[in-house]
Every structure is written in C-alpha cells, then in structure tokens.
C-alpha cells in the first residue's frame, strides 16, 4: 500500500477517534472510551492495514482534534492521554505483535484486549497527571497526591481491561476487510470527506 494511503488512513481514523472523544467524552467514563473507542479503532486499523507505527499517528491526530474542543474535563490531560494511548498501544503490540496479529485462539484475543486496554488506560492516566502540571506555571507535580490515588486508577483500569477483552475479539473479524482492494479514487474521496466532516463537526459544535 502506498504511503499516501496509509497517511490518509492515519488522518481519517485519528479524526474519527478525536470526534468520538469530543462527542462522547462528556457522557462516558475514560475507561469506557479507552476500551471501546481507542482500543477498537487502533486494533481494527492495525489488523486491516498491518502497519507498525500507524496507531501512534492516529493517536496524535485524535489528540489534535481533542485540543480544538475546549469543553469537557481537563483538555490538556485528555490530549496527553490520547497521544500516549497511541504510543502505549504500539509498545504492547511491538512486544506481542506476531501473536496478537495472528490472534488464533480466543484466549489470546481476550488477553490481548485486556493487556492493551488496561495498560493504555492506567499508564496514560498516570502520565497525563504527571505531565500536565509541567505546562502550567501555577501548577506543580504532586507525586505524593498522585501516589495516594494510584490504587483508584488501577481499580478503574479493570473496567477498561474487561471491555478491551470483549472488544478485541469482536474487532478481529475486520481482518477480512481488504482495504487495499478499494479503488484509489473512492478511498481518497471518502477518506477526505470523512476527515473534513469530523473536523467541521468539532469546530462547529464546540468552538
């Protein structure tokens, strides 16, 4: 597949993820968003495109779109967390890529979903809490207060992990989609329209 097609895939799916974060962020908990939206989209694109590094790019695009929306909770924390989720996904799948991508047995699929979603949620949560204060002069990193809250973060991660364990096996069926077989004209047209729609919706609704 050409690099341009992969690049458009990154922008399209990153924009969809960013749109869903903006629209659903106020209604769903972070654990549900990670387990369903983040893991679902990243796993699906990894299985369809089979391109390492793509999910890091998708996370960065989604984080950029989330940055456009000033509403909801801590915007900076969300932006950092989304970008980190892409990076954590890449790390987990780098370690287990051959096993996960083959995804031969249900136990492997469920385990991959649990590990990826749990790691994405908990590590991104902790890291966003650590990085955000560094960007504000009036704020400061409070390791002690964060340490007190870590058991709660690890506890909340169970929800993300369990959802991931259900979502990943459900997503594996997309492996059969042959994205390469879509005609270039349709691929570029639909991709551009979907991307533009996501950004226009977020800018129109939230700015």
């Amino acid at each position: 597949m050409s690099k341009t097609k992969i690049l458009l895939g990154i922008v399209v799916f990153g924009s969809i993820w960013g749109l869903l974060e903006c629209v659903l962020g106020g209604y769903l908990s972070g654990a549900v968003l990670t387990g369903v939206v983040a893991l679902g989209l990243m796993a699906a694109t990894r299985l369809v495109y089979n391109q390492k590094g793509m999910q890091l790019g998708i996370g960065l695009v989604a984080a950029s779109l989330r940055a456009v929306n000033p509403l909801g909770g801590c915007v900076v924390c969300s932006v950092i967390a989304i970008a980190l989720e892409g990076a954590i996904f890449e790390l987990v799948w780098f370690a287990f890529s051959s096993d996960i991508e083959k995804a031969e047995s249900l136990s492997i699929m469920i385990s991959a979903g649990i590990v990826t979603a749990y790691a994405c949620y908990t590590v991104a949560y902790v890291m966003s809490q650590m990085v955000t204060p560094l960007l504000f002069s009036a704020a400061n990193l409070q390791v002690g207060n964060l340490a007190v809250f870590i058991p709660t973060i690890l506890s909340k991660g169970v929800m993300a992990g369990l959802i991931g364990g259900v979502v990943f096996p459900a997503v594996v069926s997309v492996k059969q989609i042959e994205i390469f077989s879509i005609k270039s004209r349709w691929y570029y047209s639909l991709g551009s329209i979907a991307t533009a729609a996501c950004w226009i919706i977020v800018i129109a609704l939230y700015r």
Binding site: C74, I114, P151, L154, G161
Partner: protein, 135 residues
Amino acid sequence: MREKKKFLILLAVILLAIGIGSTLYVTLFKGSEKTEGLVVGGMEFSVDQLFGTLELVTVGEHQGVALAEVINKARIENPEEQKYTIIAEDGYQKIVGWESIRGGILTREKRVVFPDLPKQYWIKNIARIEVSRNE
C-alpha cells in the same frame, strides 16, 4: 513463540488481579468520604450554609462562592501562609496555594474552579479541605 503466548495470558491475569486487588483495597481500606457538606480545616459546613451567607461570584461559566471567603469562614489563621489540600470523595487530591485559593470558587455541586490552574485541579465532589503550614 508458545512461551510468549503463555506470557500474554499470564500478563492479562496479573493485570486483572492487580486491578481487582486495588478495588478491594480502595473499597475496604480507603472507602468513600461521601458527605452532604464540606469540612474545611476541621470545621464542617453544609452547602446551604455557605451559599446562604456568602456572596456569589462568577468565574468564566461557573458560579459559586469565593473559596477565600470559605477559608475565612473556617477561621483559618494567616491564610496566606498555609497550603490547602483539596480532597474529593473518591480520594483524588491536589494541593493549592493561597494565590489560587484567592481566585478560586466553590460551586453548589461541590466543585472547585481555579482560573489559574489546569482542569485537573478543578476537583468535583470535594469532601474536605485540609489546611497545613506552607513550608
């Protein structure tokens, strides 16, 4: 390869065990501090008590009572020399200084809003504000 697959399954089990263990720890030992009112430096106030006696202030889109007034109502001595640990019902907590308290408000939904701090400091469902000497 087979070892790696086993490790992935084992890792999933370990992560879930850590999460469930943390849930038990939080539930059994930390619990939730669900309260109707708010404890500030050892003094307990109801939300109605605060909103009935203090003037309403607006910060951006949020309306509430000035946190500095709440601190004064709790008769904290030398408030500018203290640091304030704001603790939510679920245990989430942040320390803020007097400068931030001066510009901050407490909303009727027991949320603190600080215009000079990121939203991770805008703690919801606060249960307590602990006051300690600024070192």
